[in-house]
Symmetry: C2
Subunit: 124 residues, 2 copies
């Protein structure tokens, strides 16, 4: 799998099935960088490397239950693609239900995702 | 108007009203760059400057009738924001009706949009 469109399509398929970790394991470069619109005390804004990104995904999955997931895309542009995520999520501790609507922007180099950036309102 | 979120919100409002040209006139920098996922003989992939971008918008509006417009966003990330456009469009010449689902990515500097990039499948 080598082009942006194919990688984007595969990522979207896995995310639709809730198998986001498969995308990380198979499509991401070892030194991939992950950047949130905003960090918090549990999750720094920027993380580097597959291990850190796997940890972030696990932390998120351990703390949130996905009630509904709509994943639209990929929307390619040269070596990048965007994905629109529309999740209904329940915080496992508080029980609070939240709508998460965000855009992920992915950069591909040498057939692997080397950067993911998430776009959403931060309340700033 | 100076921050990414405000500029994104204003752009989304105008686009929802079909007043995209107002966004160009009021929110874009004089030397703004506009980049499509793919160019064609009528529309180069990259255009530079407000005049060229206005011309592109006029050309598009002269050739297409928007039947439905759904505009979601803005999705901010530092000095950039994304917008998801979902248009039903009729080509005025051929009468062909098309669904256009794409993501726009905007970069803000000094209170103005200096770059817009459009993400969509190109058939390549």
């Amino acid at each position: 799998m080598s082009n942006t469109w194919e990688i984007g399509n595969q990522l979207v398929e896995w995310c639709k099935q809730g198998q986001n970790i498969e995308a990380v394991n198979n499509l991401y470069a070892e030194n991939c960088i992950s950047v949130e619109a905003q960090g918090n005390e549990m999750m720094p804004q920027q993380m580097e490397g597959l291990e850190a990104i796997r940890g972030k995904n696990e932390w998120w999955a351990n703390n949130n239950e996905v009630l509904k997931a709509e994943v639209n895309g990929p929307f390619p542009h040269e070596n990048r693609f965007a994905v629109n995520f529309n999740y209904e999520v329940k915080n496992k501790q508080s029980g609070e239900i939240q709508q998460l609507n965000e855009v992920g922007l992915y950069t591909v180099e040498n057939g692997k995702i080397i950067r993911e950036e998430f776009f959403y309102p931060t309340g700033n």
